[in-house]
Structures are given as structure tokens and as C-alpha cells.
């Protein structure tokens, strides 16, 4: 018996007459059908279940008190993000400095502020006046020059912003540090060898490259912050979630009003995601050989292809 079998002779057919048949995927078709049925069922429910109470929803969606609360939410998000990321840059710089004291301080800050739940922190800041009745500017352990009432300096909004910003700074610090670590050491050497001053090395060489690693996480954190502002309701600040609670406390229509807040959060998150796409694209220059097309560009090529057909 021979180990080498003689190959089956292939009947020579002219290549042009052979048709290519792609493999079939019945599983994929079944799964798609199931998902479509479930989605249709859900959409049907949204339209027909009277519990959603769409007239109430539309009545309150652009209602003035809701829009005013939306502005407060945006204000807290924006101010919290700006202050948080400024703090984050500072924390990252301290952590990466050569001073062990600054390193330890930064590490401790991140440890403490990541450990304490945001809601607990907010209540602490709101009760700051209990610990320190007045705040003083002056020489440490020495005489003071100027005294301020804590309650006047840190009102409920101030306490909320302080809590959000300090909480945010701890996470932002780690995000910024991750970005800075991702920049190749050779970049710093090249900049140093060219005699580029330190601040410019950071601004012009390191930060733009770090941004690529920072942006996705930072956008995540920003969206997280947008939703975290709802926790601030414990301080009775008229942000979106607090306001809809006030309204449904009055009229008892819980679900439609929760939907008002939900849809606003979803819309704002969509807006931030779009912003993220374009900012990331801006910082991708040089990292990719060719930039991916924007959705608008993709649509335009699809349309022109359709027109050409």
C-alpha cells in the first residue's frame, strides 16, 4: 500500500465558466430576525403603552423650569470638567516630578478622592461650615489678615462644584498621567538635544502626542461627569434630575418626567460623542497615514456614488 495517494484528476474547465458562490450564514440571518422582532416589539410598546404618557413628556420637555435646570447641569459639567482637568494636570505633573514629597502627596490625593463616594463627599463639602466656621487668609500658624464666613464663601452650588471638581481631578490626574507615559522617551531626548526650553517641550512636543491617549478616556470621564451631576440633587440644587423630581412630586407623573431627564442626558451625551470624534480626528494628524473620512464625507461619497449609478 502506498502512503502517497494519487490525486484525483481535475477535469479541466475554462475558468470563465466557474461561478463564485459566497458561503451562506443561516445563523446570522436567524439572529438578525430575532433582534429585529424584539426591537419592533419595544418600539410598539413605546408608541402604544399609555404609561409613557407622551403628551406630558412633550409638555415638559421644553418647559422653562426644565430648561433652566438643564442650564445648571451644563454649568456644573463644564465648570467641573475645566477645574477637574486643571487639577488633573497638576496632579499628574506632581506624580511625575522627581520630588518624593510631591509624588506622595499626589498619590495620597488620588487614593483618598477615589475612595470616598461622590455623594458622601458632596455632603462633607456642604457641611464644611460645621468644621470651619470662618476661613482666614494669613500666615500659616500665624496671624490672619482677612476672614470670610464659610457659609457665604461655599454655598450649596459652591459645595457641589467643589465636590465634583475635586472628585474629577483624581480621575483626570490618572488619565493625564497615562497619556504622558505613552509618549516615547526618545521624543523628550530629541527635544532636549535640540535645546528646546522645558515648557515648550511640554506644550509643543509632549502634550499633543499625549492627547491621543488622553482623549478617549477624557471623553468617557466627561460623559460620566455629566451624569454624575444628578447626584448633586442631595444638596437641593436645581439641576435637571432634581427639577424633574420636583415636578413629579407635584403631579405624580413619575415615568414621563424621568423620560424628560433621560432624553436630555442622551442628547447631551450624543453631542459630546460627536465632539469627541472631531477632536480625536484633529489630534490623529501624523499618527495615521491617512485620516478616516468623517461621517459627512462618507455620506457625500455614498451619495455621489449613488448618483453616478
Amino acid at each position: 500500500m502506498s502512503l502517497v495517494s494519487t490525486p484525483t484528476p481535475i477535469t479541466p474547465t475554462p475558468p470563465a465558466t466557474l461561478t463564485v458562490v459566497p458561503a451562506r450564514h443561516p445563523g446570522r440571518w436567524i439572529a438578525s430576525a430575532v433582534v429585529l422582532v424584539l426591537a419592533a416589539q419595544f418600539a410598539h410598546g413605546l408608541a402604544t403603552n399609555p404609561g409613557w404618557d407622551w403628551p406630558t413628556f412633550t409638555g415638559y420637555f421644553f418647559e422653562r423650569s426644565v430648561l433652566r435646570a438643564l442650564a445648571v447641569t451644563l454649568e456644573l459639567t463644564l465648570a467641573g470638567a475645566v477645574l477637574g482637568f486643571l487639577g488633573g494636570v497638576l496632579l499628574a505633573a506632581m506624580r511625575m516630578s522627581r520630588s518624593p514629597i510631591l509624588q506622595a502627596l499626589s498619590w495620597t490625593y488620588v487614593w483618598v478622592f477615589r475612595s470616598v463616594p461622590l455623594i458622601v463627599q458632596l455632603l462633607f463639602w456642604a457641611n464644611l461650615g460645621y468644621l470651619y466656621d470662618t476661613l482666614q487668609i494669613g500666615v500659616p500658624f500665624g496671624p490672619g489678615f482677612h476672614e470670610l464666613s464659610t457659609a457665604r464663601l461655599v454655598g450649596p452650588f459652591g459645595a457641589a462644584l467643589l465636590g465634583l471638581a475635586l472628585h474629577e481631578a483624581a480621575y483626570a490626574g490618572e488619565i493625564v498621567r497615562a497619556g504622558l507615559l505613552s509618549v516615547d522617551q526618545g521624543q523628550l531626548e530629541a527635544a532636549a538635544a535640540l535645546g528646546i526650553p522645558r515648557p515648550r517641550q511640554f506644550r509643543r512636543i509632549v502634550l499633543p502626542q499625549a492627547m491621543r491617549a488622553i482623549l478617549p478616556s477624557a471623553a468617557n470621564e466627561l460623559i460620566n461627569l455629566l451624569k454624575s451631576t444628578s447626584v448633586v440633587y442631595v444638596l437641593a440644587i436645581g439641576e435637571l434630575f432634581y427639577q424633574v423630581q420636583v415636578v413629579y412630586g407635584r403631579n405624580g407623573r413619575v415615568v414621563p418626567l424621568l423620560m424628560v431627564a433621560t432624553v436630555w442626558y442622551v442628547l447631551l451625551t450624543a453631542l459630546l460623542s460627536i465632539l469627541q470624534f472631531y477632536v480625536e480626528r484633529r489630534f490623529a494628524r501624523g499618527a495615521l497615514r491617512t485620516l478616516p473620512p468623517t461621517p459627512v464625507q462618507r455620506l457625500r461619497t455614498a451619495l455621489s456614488r449613488g448618483a453616478a449609478r
Partner: protein, 254 residues
Amino acid sequence: MTAMVEIRDVHKSFGAHEVLHGVDLTVPGGSVTVVLGPSGSGKSTLLRAINHLEKVDRGTITVDGELIGYRRVGDRLNELGERHILRQRARIGFVFQSFNLFPHLTALDNVAEAPVATGRRGRADARAYARTLLGRVGLADRADAYPRQLSGGQQQRVAIARALALDPALILFDEPTSALDPELVGEVLDVLRALAAAGTTMIVVTHEIGFAREVADTVVFLDAGRIVEQGPPEQVLDHPRHERTKAFLSKVLT
């Protein structure tokens, strides 16, 4: 513009491992010195010490009589502040094995960056000069390309133009062709030849023996942190006196 480099009794350790055991070397202004040696012999460390990317533990390095990285106060050497060191480095060009171009800047902006950053030239002036330099390395038409859109040889030529942008009196090359595909080595060496012909002081760490024979005024053979042998190329390359030089050359030349 040319510079003379004097290295006196330089020692350097990384932890317990001493990489340079007292190196003495004089590089006359306008000359080309090629440093050869097996890997781990301290070639790169020596080169990096010349612009203070590496601090030395003992000994002195001067460029045109100016002590690099330190100020002498009596019989003490006080390390200079960061800004002062950066100013000294601006007079010394450095070309890396791995190019280290700034990936987010175009070739033109890579070259124009240092003159603007050091206040040497205005933005428009620096860009015009960068265009001239890119022309000199044969890349005038790739000025607006990003580093990742260029081949290795092109990237290294941009890096050389970048080092030239500050009109350095001295240029240090750390294995400038070692990261390149063999067919791209020639284009980079051509640029080095042109620079040598123009009279720039150059110290080149390389394994390109042919280049050393053709362009170098002095060939230095470094082994285990000591200069074993130095002299004109025909002497060191063709009639090496030291056993270790012979052993190294026989390996590299086969």
C-alpha cells in the same frame, strides 16, 4: 563653523556597571571622527555624554574650550541649570539611531521647530530656512509630509536637516544607518559625505566600515569602555595593532 572637542578622563557607570573607564579623545575642528566598537563598548554613552544627555561621573568634556554641563568653581564642577545646558545643546547637533522625529509635525515643522523654540529665528524665517535645508538633503518635495508617510531613509535625512537647523558647530551621529534597510543606507551616507566635505566637525558612531575608510580623518576603536586604538583609517582599519581591533574587524568585514 567648526568646533574642537576635548574629552579628558571620562568615567560613567550605570549602577555598579562601569561603561566608560577613563576615555581621552581630542577631535580637531572640522574633522570627521568615526567611533567603532562592539555593542556594549560604550560608544553611544560617550556620544551622548558630549551633549550632556548622559551625565558623566568623572572627567571633563569641552567643546571649543567651553565646559559642557558644568561650571568650574575652584576644583569643583557644579552642574549647570537646565536652561544653560539647553543653550549649550543648541550648538551641538545630534542624530539618533531611531530618528526620533516628532510624529505630529510635518517634515518642515520638524526642521523649523528648534530655531523658533530657541528664539534664533522668526517663524517665517525658520520655515524658509527649513525648506532650504530639506532641499540640501534632497527632500524639498516632501516638506509637507508627516514622518510616518516617509521611508526610513527619508526620515533620517529629515532628522539630519533638523539637526542642521541650528547651524551647529558640531554634529554627533549615533548609528544613523543602523535602523535602515540596506538599500536606504546609501542615501543617508551621501548626506553625511556632503556634510564632511563642507567642513562640519562630526563624530559618527557607525558600523559602516566603507564609510569610515572613505570619509573619516580619525578612526577610534572603543572596547569595554576604553579607547583601544585610534589613528587614520588606513592604519586602524588595514593594519590594526591591537588583537581586539583585529578580532572585531574580521567579524565586521566578513
